[in-house]
Each structure stands twice: as C-alpha cells, then as structure tokens.
Point group: none
Chain length 539, copies 2
C-alpha cells in the first residue's frame, strides 16, 4: 500500500466555524498562499455562494496559480429535487474550483431527525449529486458526515452510503467523526472494516477534537488504510476544533514513515502555523505541540544541564526539523547554565568566569527575588545580558511620566498619559489618551518615539498579563506585568515588577520599545530635524 | 481485570514546569482542596525541600484532612552513595506525605549521558532508594523516566529496571513517556509486553503532549493494562504539557467504561478546571475539550436547528455530565436556577415567574456577556439580587474619583487618589496616597467612610486578582478585577470589569464596601456630627 498521504486543509472552511475565528477574503488568500508553500494537496476555500467573502475568494484564488487543488464545499442536493437544478451544486460548479467536497448523511438517525427524509431518498441525493458533478468534470471528495456514529448504530446503512458514493464516481470516500466522540480503537476497527467493503476506493479521514483525540484518530485511520487526512492549521474549528495538521503532518512523516510534504517544506511548519495565527488574529497556545513557543522550552535545572550535554535527552525530535527552536527558560529552578545558553543564543560571548557573567547572573537572581520572571520575558533578559556586556546603545532616556484617570458619576472614565523623554539629545514631551492608563502610556510612548524611529509604527502589543504576587497583601501587593509585542517578523516578551501596576507596566513597555530598537538596529535621524528652537518637540 | 483506574494528579509538581505557571503555597493548597473534592486519588504536591513554597505546602496540607493521598516527588539516591543518608530521600520522608513518587532512569543512554554512571549502579540506586522508603513505611510509586524510549533502544535493560523496582517493593511501576515522542501503537505494544514481564505488578502511565497524543497514549496504556494514570488539570506541564486529566477522566469513564471518580464528582469537572485556571492565572483555551467554554457551543445555523430537534445530533455527550453547558445563539435560561438558589441562600424570596426575577436574570446575563463572572464574586451577585428585590438601602453615593500616578527619573513613583462621595446627605471629599493607584483608592474610600461607619476599620482586602480578558487586544483589552475582603467574621468576594484597570478595581472596591455595610447592618451616626457648615467633610 502506498505510503503517500494526501493532506486536505479546511482551515478556510471548517476552521472558520471556530469561536473567535473570522477571515476576510484577503485573509483567506494570504492563508491559501502560505498553505500552498507548505505543500498541502487540497485547500478547501469555503462554501461558494454562501457569502460575498467566499465568492470573492474563489474568483481571486485562481489568479494565484497555486499548486494545491482548490476545493469548494457543499451539501448533496435537497430532498425530492433534481441535482442539475440545485442552486448549491450549480454554485460549486461555477466557483472554478478544481474539486468539490460534498457532504452527505451516513447516520440513519440524522437522515430521519435532521433531513427528515427516508433512507432511500438520502442515497439518491448522494448518488445524483456526485454523478452530476463528475459529469461536469470535477474531482469529487465525498464527506460522509457522522460516519462513525452511523456505523456504530447501523453499519449496513453507513456502508451502503459509501458504496453508493463510490458507484456514483466519487474520487475519495471520507469518513467524518463529526461530533468528535469516537475512540481510537473504534476508528481503527471501522476504517479497517470499511476498507474491506469498498475495496478499490481511496479513503479519507476527518476528525474533531471533542475528546482531545482528533490527531490520534487521524493517525489510526491512516494506519488502518486511509490515504487522505482532512484537518486545519492549529486545529481551528467548531467547538473543540478539527484535527490539527501542524501535529498530524509531522507525526505521519517523522514518526510513522509516511510521506506528506517535502523536507524543506516541513521546516516551514512553525513559521506557517504562526503566520496563520497572526492573520486569523488568534493567540497561539504557548504549549502547542511541534510549533508552539514552548514546544522545545526547558525550565528544570537538571533537564537543562542534560540537554546541554545532548539535546536528545529531553527532546523527541530536533526542533529545526519543523522550523522551531530550543529555548532555555531562565527561572527560579535554574541558574548559571541557563543564562550562558541564552547568551549563546543571542550571539553574545559570555565567559563563565568573567566579571560580566558574574554580574548579570547576580542581577538576574536579585531581580527574580523581587518577583521578576524571565522565563516569559526573553527580551528583557536579552537587554540585561547586552547591558552587562557593555553593548547597549540607549537611543532614548526617561525623564518622567504622569498618568491621570478621572471618573465622575454618569460620565465615561478618562485616561491620559504624559511622557517626557530625551531622544537623540532632544527633550520630547507628549500626551495621549487611551481606553485605560496603560493604553494611554503605550500611545504616548509610541507617539514620542515613532517620529524618530518610524519602524515602531509596525510594532504593536499583542498580549498583556498582570499577575498579583503575594495576593494576601491585596492592593498593597506587588504586581508583575508581562507584555508580548509583535511586528511583521518577530514576537518578543518583556517584564516589569512594582508595587504599582502603572509603574510595572511602564517598565515592561519601555523594555519592549528598547528591544524593538535593538533588533531593528535603527539609527535616529539627524537631530534637530523635527525639534523646535528650545529643543522640545511637541506632538 | 479490574475496571477501576487510580487518578494521580501532578498539577502541583509537573504542572508548575509549564511556561507561565507559578503557584504560591496558598495557591497550591487551594488547588489541592479542589482536586480532593473532584475525587482524584493521589495529589503530588511538589519536591520537599527544593524551595520554601513546597516545604510550606507539605506542612499545611496535613491540616486539610484530605481523602486523596498526598505524594512527594524526588529522585533515586545519588550515585555511589547510601540511600539512608541521602538528603533528598530524607526530605521526602520528613515531608509527612503518604506516598513517594521516586523517579529513576530506565533508558541506558540517559544513565550514561545524564547520570554518567554504569547500568549496574543505576539499578542499585533504584533498589536502595525504594527499599529505604518502603522500610520507613511509605507507599512508593516508581516513575521510570523515558521508559518507552529506553524500551525501544534496550528493552532488556528497561525491563530489568522495572523488575528491580518491583523486587525492592514498589507499589506501582509507572511508565513515563518523558519526551512525549511515542506513538499510541508503540505504547500499546510496550505496555502489553511489560505486563507480561512483571506479572503481579500494578502498572501506571505518565505521558506528555509533544505529539498532541498525551491523552490517546494514556488511554491506550489503560487498554493494555495500566491501572494508574498520571496527568495534570488542563494539561499543564513542561513544553507541551502533560496528559490532560480533564479529558482523560471523562474518556475513560464515559467512553471506555472504566471507573475513576463518582458521577456527582464528574459534574464538578468543568468547574474544577476553570477554578484551577483562575488560581493559576492562565486563560483556559475556549476550545478545550469537555470543559472549555466552546466545547458545546454551536455556531452553524444548520447545526443549531438540528440540535434544537435533538442535541445528540451534534453533541457527543450531554454537557451536564461534566458540568458544562450547551451554548447556542438563541436565548437560553441558563443561570436562572443558579440565581434562584443564590437568592434562597441569602434569604431573599424570589418568585421565578416575577418581574424581579426576570430583571435580575437578564441583568446578570448581560453583565456576563460583558465579562463579569459571578462564580467568584458572591457578594456582587448578592447586591444585584437585593437591588432587584428593592431592598438595597444605599448608605453612600458616588460623585467622582481621580487617580494620579507620577514618576520622575531617579525618584520613587507617587500614587494619589481623590474620592468624592455623598454620605448620609453630606458631600465628603478625601485624598489619600498609596503604594499603587488601587491601594490609594482603597485608602481614600476607607477614609471617607470609616468616620461614619467605624466597623469598616476592621475590614481589609485580603486578595486582589487582575485578569486580562481577550488578551490579544493587549493594553486596550478589558480587564476583570476580583477582590476578596475580610473582617473578623466573614470573607466576601466582589467583581468589576472595564477597559480600564482602575475603573474595574474601583467597581470591585465599591461593591466590597457596600457589602460590608449591608452585612454589618450599620446605621449612619446622626448627620452633621462631623460635617462642617458647608456640608463638606475634609479629612
């Protein structure tokens, strides 16, 4: 049996059923391009005619010249009607897509309860619809909805549905675990059994994650004979999501010896997952398998000293295989070796026995004692190391800030921030409003700096976390603020700690901007260009 | 073979290895209590003696009288030393825990590379350490680190390790997939094979999620004969996390017919998962299986009309079984019974069909939609119910507040608050400093009210939590503040939500003071007693 697996991506269709996922036509086109580069074989774009975004997508995607087969989704014809005149089937045909994914019922309970028709009519609906699209020259992928639930309740009927689809000429018979409730051993048995009933057919699998088993169920179906896997990037999808292709693909290829995408495409996996999460505007779980930021992060001191000897001790694959990288988290549980390895990462040579190394390690220990946490604040740590190594070139210095929050009965709360900096020798004083005090500070700081360093306009804060340390002290307790920032290429994290939530936020904000200036390596414009005669720039 | 599965929770130990997870001793005790109510059989509390938090935990947990067995984690003795004199083993013994989880090497590569000792010495380390703790009367759970990797490379040695542990008297032999790289079919084969080699032993399984297969691997190990599952709540843990008990438990019990916890405890699953994520201050993924907010949410129009006919059409289990609920885009009466039962609790008779009941339920639904959460804010809920029932007697009304935070280079940050209230017909204007803006507000509010209501001097805030909702909006996101307050007799909790952290804190503060005045049933002193001629009291 062939070891080649066809990867069918439905991020743009089933993925958009996930809570909080909403994609414009532009977003969909960007994602399709990325998926094509990654090497998936089918890209399901949406439901033609269901809304204007999908109509636009199918039109414009043809101009991209993608290698992947573009696929349009729809249901079998309506009951007691004629396929050739079915509006939805017509729209699939007119979409210009290479293939159609046609969904049909295979669970008798659903035929009765949801469709409210007879088992015979459902078979006819499936046959007619597939035959019509095949006659029209399309490739047809038949998605048997609720196949496993159907098989468990009425195996004869579920198999009859698949036989009918095969008879009508379907190119693929895909078994869907629509409700996500099946266990891996059931999937294995049922796929094996169907394989024996429809011998020459090519089988596919479509699973959902309601039992946290979508990936396992997809793998076991392949082991039982399925040769197409349907899923979404990052597992987006209705309820608990679909099978996560970012885990399915490396598991199949790196662990089980199947072929899905090329080796150099596999190295794009992490980057593709992160890009798509950015376009979808959804935070990626830090602990996401293979592609997450913590997937190869090591915290425990003993683990760290072992991976320094040989990374296979605590890593199941080389992170580079999927384009990810090893990270050593600096935390209370670890010490000197973590700091040295971080320095190495950022290209700073720190001699373990040097004064500089001693001083940065002591400083970090002291800061951790105060409540700082650098495991989630790589960028702040990098600044400390570069500082200790004497290579920080500060492009601005702090003079003062003021924050005012005001609220009167019956009126909206008002937040303002006033920031005074020295940038390139000039005093810059700005004010800004915000929908909260930290947002106001962020706005004022950006305003003060963006004129000198326009690249800062591309940067934004993407995550803001507040943690009250020692909660027993309530509002007099220390707080730790963690900020995540992003631009088109990078993500970085900074930290601030203070008894004052505003001051802690300010610290983390300033580190974020310092780090942005560092990695962008921006030189300030000639001073005086936007400075008034008294040396103060007003915005 | 028995169908009873022993659930071993390591949220407090392995879970804290997860990025961004940091628990105080208080947090750990709260979580232990919750886990005990949920019915897990073992609670691994930490590593005795590794840090002051864990020492405190093991000391204080004994006073809680939990049913679960408290477990202390540690490694086998150091190489070339004597178990009885090993400082770590001594600390395990002194911790007062019922059981010890002893981790030992079972992969020859690790013995050579990480331990840097001989295979024979490693066997002796395992034997001596287990025998020592058994002689001292502890239950011993032996965690064979990297068991599956070890077995794949050198099956004889991996089995020899387990035989040695059994010989030393270990109560459980637990197979760890430490690097999370094993596939389910490998797990099944290796567990089956070990079962044949150590026949009378009780086997356990400990899996990690690096391939998104931790849950599947735990299930398949049970199907192959393991009778203990180690995992964490919400799957917290190093890198990609541990096996998620919130999915393992319902899969084993509701899908595969094993017994883990009682039926009424299963109904606490969702609530427990959410409570623990709150204490850990980590956002729960909306799409988390079984317990996530979207786990039974229906977005697609066709799906919704089908589930209205019969919810089994698109739900793999009844959400109530795990204490979760269905969410659809049509109005629902979820919450009504909670509100009525709360009203009964506080002695308010609320007729379910009355205008008052309708109005308070609608209001709560609206507030929850805005991000309020009353599960952790009983006092705010009580105020809403009393208000709807027309029995709130407001002893003060709000006029305005102002907060100013100021910081100049080289100087300490200054926070001031100005609060204007109307108390008993008089306008009261106070100012106060604090070590942060919320502390300043708290001080100013107390100053304004305590002169009229002296009992407020006995009240203080005992917990303050800030939660950023919708973190991707970063500093422009909404925040939820939860405040816990105490006096000599009572503890009460209040909530505030706003795009502005100061306003959200103010709301929760005001509710706390309103509730204090309510339960103390204080009458204001004769007005005018401390009021100047213009009706304004200055402090």
């Amino acid at each position: 049996m062939s070891k080649t697996i066809s990867i069918f991506d439905t991020t743009l269709r089933d993925g958009t059923q996930g809570e909080g996922i909403s994609l414009s036509a532009d977003d969909k086109l960007k994602i399709a391009k990325k998926l094509d580069d990654l090497g998936v074989h089918y890209i399901e774009g949406g439901i033609p005619g269901s809304n204007s975004k999908d109509i636009e997508f199918f039109k414009r995607v043809q101009q991209l010249g993608l290698k992947a087969k573009i696929t349009a989704f729809g249901s079998t014809r309506r009951k007691e009607s004629v396929a050739d005149q079915d509006a939805n089937l017509q729209r699939i045909l007119q979409s210009g897509a290479h293939a159609a994914t046609l969904v049909g019922k295979s669970w008798d309970f659903h035929v009765h309860t949801a469709l409210q028709t007879t088992l015979e009519e459902n078979l006819a609906m499936i046959y007619d619809s597939i035959a019509f699209l095949k006659r029209s020259g399309m490739e047809v992928i038949f998605d048997a909805e609720h196949f496993f639930d159907g098989y468990k309740h009425n195996p004869e009927y579920a198999v009859a549905v698949m036989r009918k689809a095969q008879e009508a000429g379907a190119d693929w018979l895909v078994m869907c675990d629509t409700n996500g409730g099946s266990m891996p051993h059931e999937i294995y048995e049922i796929v094996t059994s169907l394989g024996q009933s429809v011998e020459s057919a090519r089988l596919g699998i479509h699973t959902h994650n309601d039992c946290e088993l979508a990936v396992a169920n997809a793998l076991t179906a392949v082991q039982a004979g399925a040769r197409q896997v349907q899923g979404t990037m990052n597992g987006y999808g209705e309820r608990c999501g679909n099978a996560n292709l970012c885990s399915v693909i490396p598991n199949l290829q790196l662990k089980l010896g199947y072929e899905c995408i090329r080796e150099e495409q596999m190295k794009q996996l992490t980057n593709s997952a992160r890009y798509i999460s950015e376009v979808a505007n959804v935070n990626m779980p830090v602990n996401q398998p293979y592609v997450g930021n913590a997937a190869f992060a090591h915290k425990g001191g003993i683990h760290v000293s072992a991976i320094m000897r040989d990374s296979r001790t605590y890593e199941h694959i080389a992170p580079e295989t999927v384009g990810n990288k090893q990270r050593v988290l600096v935390s209370e549980l670890a010490g000197q070796s973590n700091v040295l390895s971080k320095a190495k990462d950022i290209g700073v040579h720190l001699d373990p026995s040097s004064e500089e190394a001693r001083s940065v390690i002591d400083k970090i220990k002291e800061l951790e004692h105060q409540g700082y946490q650098f495991e989630g604040a790589d960028a702040s740590l990098e600044l400390l190391i570069r500082e200790a190594n004497g290579e920080m070139k500060e492009l601005f210095t702090f003079e003062s800030f003021k924050v005012l929050v005001e609220k009167s009965a019956g009126k909206a709360v008002v937040s303002e921030a006033f920031v005074k900096l020295n940038v390139a020798g000039s005093s810059v004083y700005t004010a800004a409003e915000g929908n909260g005090p930290v947002n106001a500070l962020d706005n004022a700081l950006r305003k003060a700096l963006a004129q000198y360093f326009p690249a800062l306009r591309d940067m934004h804060l993407s995550d803001y976390k507040v943690r009250v340390l020692d909660e027993k002290d309530a509002t007099a307790a220390k707080v730790r603020v963690l900020i995540e920032s992003k631009n088109y290429e990078n993500t970085w994290n900074t930290v601030g700690v203070s008894g004052n939530v505003i001051e802690a936020s300010w610290e983390a904000l300033v580190d974020s901007f310092r780090h942005a200036l560092l990695s962008e390596n921006i030189e300030p414009p000639p001073s005086g260009s936007a400075v008034s005669s008294n040396g103060i720039v007003n915005h």
